[in-house]
């Protein structure tokens, strides 16, 4: 270790002056993932060859993950579809760590979803845990107190041996971090599909709340202000490729081994949250930034380029966990649980007193300068001297070729008609199908997963799994709060990426309104295969456009998100890519979360109404997949006007107390919604569907399992019946009484489809809850 230090002192350090003196020196730009034209551009920007440290910074900041070089040209579409009306509640939009939305009463919320797919395959527990930790820091960096998390998980086939390795690890990692840090987990998704074999998707969402005045931005302003790094010590985490440089620089005293995975320390992050909130409330922070991907390279270059001057950083002041780290590696390290703040000299003592109170290590690394360069020094020698914008924002932009795959037509033509895929004929077959469907991997109870997550901590959870949306209180005085739902459907998106993205959006929108909340804003995580495949790039471009158009139609802006590319297990292009999987989060607001609508009925004797109309739509359906392993045709049609109307009515029902329960219809159709609602509180139902069959011209199988959109089931108390139906009629929303919640005293509760078949709740429940424990213990 001291050998390494003496290595630097022996003059091996690749300083700026050395770079100027040795322009011909060969540099491992290719090993760092740079293309030759990108390397040339760096030389052009600097007017010399970069130092090793500079090369490290550019290479990581210009990577796909940090620079969005393949996706940028498409993401612009969100801006094109942002209307003035959509901007009204948007306080901070795309471009910051996370978007900020005004929810009234001087409160704002910030939320974002991010992926941690690859690390979760390599080491499921730590990969998932650090994914949760990372998104929480993004939310903290906005000045907010994190108030809830959600997780959207996709795994390979449920019975594949590797799934048995990945699932328990990921689930306990999400829980291990979230539980220990004390954030309620209020919802998410669990999906199984062979396309995610070897490439699971782990997307984590965090939402935070703050007063308007507390919104913080990541910028370094004010010459003379100090740059402070605080939190965990810096180790060799996640520096992977950059070790190439380290070994070049220190030939004879090679650095010690670098960790293959990052380990999270949720306790450190919990303390960091409380420490940050103390700092914010004492107004001791001018600008703040989390350290995530690309660590100090990202934080310093982003803070500096968003500021009004330059920045000087003494890298040797970074507290290290591993003293053998080289300057390049320190710049690159992705050690978790660290933050960077800009603090005035007048406040620094007070700042350090707060960090000391929380036992959080802090180091003043440098200051904001009146130049316009980011300068990094190592024991007094300059190793980085760059215009920060060129690192943080002026990365390469690719217009990657994209083309609709030739196979798309055949896929869409493969419609799951009755001739092609056998359907149940008799009532007895329908009953058996219902039991199989509720036990199928994607429709069965998620309790095995969600029972490992604390949903009660912080005392503000008004709804959580298995309800349609998670609902948490923001303000204890008024009861003001937010609802969130996170949804995606890769099969729909595979059949038609544009519609698929919109289907994810409308489902999340519907879930939030079913809970009684007014949808306000959107975040997204776009998980796709390799952008170098034109077919994948087409899927991506289509999905982004679909989403942008959908957001405009519904009047809800995208406030931020994340793109995850290269999700695939081989190099077979489209065929080895995961299903294109846009995961969409919608946030809604409730003036009083106690008015939220739960998804199950609690009392007998309430009338059940089906809202919306049913068509025969089985393309990409859970039925086609679970029963026949079939994926083809077109996904269900999207009707934004119908979704908006349904949403409006559901929100009004909650406000006026017209319904006691509401459950949206999505995967698995009406049958699944009915089953979930009866099982929620153990109150059965008697259902009659003849009128529906007649009105919509469908058969019972279609009525039960079709996945038509813009539908929900509600439970209406008898005394509200007239007001409720009058409102639906006045608003022009199709509504039909299809049954009654039912609990005969002294009798076992049942779900009864009148005249056709009947299932005891105990039997339904056994089928529904048995699947995950059977596979994962």
């Amino acid at each position: 270790m001291s050998a390494t230090t003496s290595g630097h002192q022996a003059g091996r350090l690749d300083t700026v002056s050395r770079a100027e003196a040795t322009p011909e020196r060969e540099q491992p730009w290719a090993a760092l993932g740079l293309k030759s034209d990108e390397y040339d551009r760096i030389r052009e920007i600097l007017g010399r060859r970069p130092t090793g440290a500079e090369l490290a910074m550019y290479s990581v900041m210009w990577s796909e993950h940090c620079s969005y070089k393949s996706s940028k040209v498409h993401l612009k579409v969100f801006g094109d579809h942002l209307t003035d009306a959509m901007k009204t509640s948007l306080m901070v939009g795309i471009g910051e760590n996370a978007g900020v939305v005004d929810i009234g009463h001087d409160w704002a919320v910030t939320f974002k979803v991010e992926s941690h797919n690859h690390p979760s395959f390599v080491e499921p527990y730590q990969g998932a845990a650090t994914g949760v930790g990372g998104i929480i820091r993004d939310i903290m960096a906005m000045g907010a107190r994190p108030i809830a998390v959600m997780d959207s998980l996709r795994f390979g086939a449920i019975d594949h041996p590797d799934t048995a390795r990945v699932v328990p690890g990921v689930v306990s990692g999400v829980g291990g971090y979230g539980n220990c840090i004390g954030l309620p987990n209020i919802g998410g998704e669990v999906v199984f599909d062979p396309s995610y074999q070897g490439n699971p998707l782990v997307n984590a969402l965090c939402v935070g709340a703050m007063k308007h005045a507390d919104v913080h931005l990541a910028n370094a302003r004010g010459v003379g202000n100090l740059v402070v790094l605080f939190g965990a010590r810096t180790g060799g985490d996640g520096i992977g490729g950059v070790s190439v440089l380290a070994s070049e620089t220190f030939e004879d005293s090679g650095p010690s081994k670098r960790p293959a995975v990052q380990v999270g320390d949720p306790f450190q992050e919990k303390v960091l949250i409380e420490c940050c909130l103390d700092l914010f409330s004492a107004d001791l922070v001018e600008g703040i930034q989390d350290l995530g991907g690309a660590g100090l390279s990202c934080a310093t270059s982003e803070l500096a380029s968003a500021g009004d001057g330059g920045m000087l950083v003494h890298l040797d002041r970074v507290p290290l966990r591993d003293p053998s780290l080289s300057p390049e590696e320190i710049l690159m390290s992705e050690s978790q649980e660290r933050m960077m703040a800009v603090v005035t000299p007048a406040n620094i003592d007070a700042f350090l007193a707060v960090t000391a109170k929380w036992d959080v290590e802090a180091a003043v690394l440098g200051e904001v300068t009146d130049g316009d360069h980011l300068v990094v020094q190592w024991h007094g020698e300059t190793v980085v001297d760059v215009p920060p914008r060129t690192v943080a924002h002026d990365g390469p932009v690719y217009e990657r070729p994209y083309a609709r795959p030739a196979s798309q037509d055949a896929l869409q033509a493969d419609v799951p008609t009755a001739e092609r895929l056998a359907r149940p004929g008799t009532d007895e077959e329908l009953r058996a199908l219902l039991l199989r469907m509720v036990a199928s991997p994607n429709l069965c109870s998620r309790a095995w997963v969600t029972d490992q997550y604390d949903r009660y901590v912080m005392g503000g959870t008004a709804l959580a799994t298995p309800d349609d949306a998670g609902v948490v209180r923001v303000d204890e005085e008024t009861g003001l709060g937010v609802a969130l739902s996170l949804d995606g459907n890769g099969r729909y998106a595979k059949l038609d990426p544009r519609t698929g993205a919109q289907l994810a959006l409308v489902e999340a929108y519907r879930n939030v309104s079913a809970a009684g909340a007014t949808p306000l804003a959107v975040t997204d995580c776009l998980n796709f295969g390799s952008p170098e495949d034109p077919g994948v790039m087409w899927q991506f471009a289509e999905a982004v456009r679909g989403l942008a158009v959908g957001c405009e139609a519904l009047g809800v802006p995208v406030t931020g998100g994340n793109v995850s590319l290269y999700n695939q297990t081989g190099d077979q292009g489209l065929d080895s890519a995961v299903l294109p999987t846009p995961v969409i989060g919608v946030l809604g607001v409730l003036d009083d979360v106690r008015r939220r609508t739960p998804s199950g009925w609690k009392v007998a004797g309430q009338n059940l109404y089906l809202l919306g109309t049913t068509r025969e739509e089985f393309g990409g359906s859970e039925w086609a997949w679970a029963e026949h392993g079939h994926l083809g045709g077109m996904p269900p049609a999207v009707d934004f006007a119908a979704e908006a109307l349904l949403g409006d009515v559901l929100v009004q029902c909650s406000r006026d107390g017209l319904v006691d329960a509401a459950h949206d219809l999505s995967d698995g159709g009406l049958a699944q919604a009915l089953v979930e609602s009866v099982l929620r509180y153990g109150v059965g139902a008697r259902v009659w569907l003849d009128e529906l069959l007649e009105r919509d011209g469908v058969d019972l199988f279609t009525a039960l399992f079709s996945e038509s959109t813009a539908r929900a089931v509600v439970a209406v108390p008898r005394e509200e019946e007239v007001r409720f139906t009058d409102m639906c009629t006045a608003r022009g929303l199709a509504h039909l009484r299809i049954g009654v919640s039912d609990a005969e005293p002294g009798q076992e509760p049942v779900l009864d489809v009148q005249g056709r078949f009947s299932v005891r709740l105990a039997e339904l429940s056994a089928a529904h809850t048995g699947t995950l424990p059977k596979h994962f213990g």
Partner: protein, 89 residues
């Protein structure tokens, strides 16, 4: 009846939050001699008979697969408890 002892430690380069918590607590209790702590696991496996070379081989294999996570942990030793404490892996 024999016994095999297996020691597993977090890899030195990997963050060890548990050891970190302990090293922070020690000085507060007046134990000021220690500059670092790492916390690992110790398994004691019982066998009905003697600890034969076959048993030790099984123990070694179990240590590498089930009892440690090679991504973040090292198997430090696998040994016959009866044969005295001799480091062997």
């Amino acid at each position: 009846m024999g016994r095999v002892v297996i020691d597993v430690m977090p890899k030195p380069e990997i963050l060890d939050p548990q050891g970190k918590a302990v090293v922070g607590a020690l000085p507060r209790l007046g134990f000021d001699a220690f500059t670092g702590v790492r916390q690992g696991k110790r398994f004691e496996l019982e066998v009905a008979g003697e600890v034969t070379p076959e048993v030790l081989a099984q123990a070694r294999a179990a240590a590498e697969t089930l009892l440690s996570n090679p991504v973040i942990e090292d198997v430090v030793s696998v040994r016959d408890a009866g044969a005295g404490e001799v480091a062997s892996a």
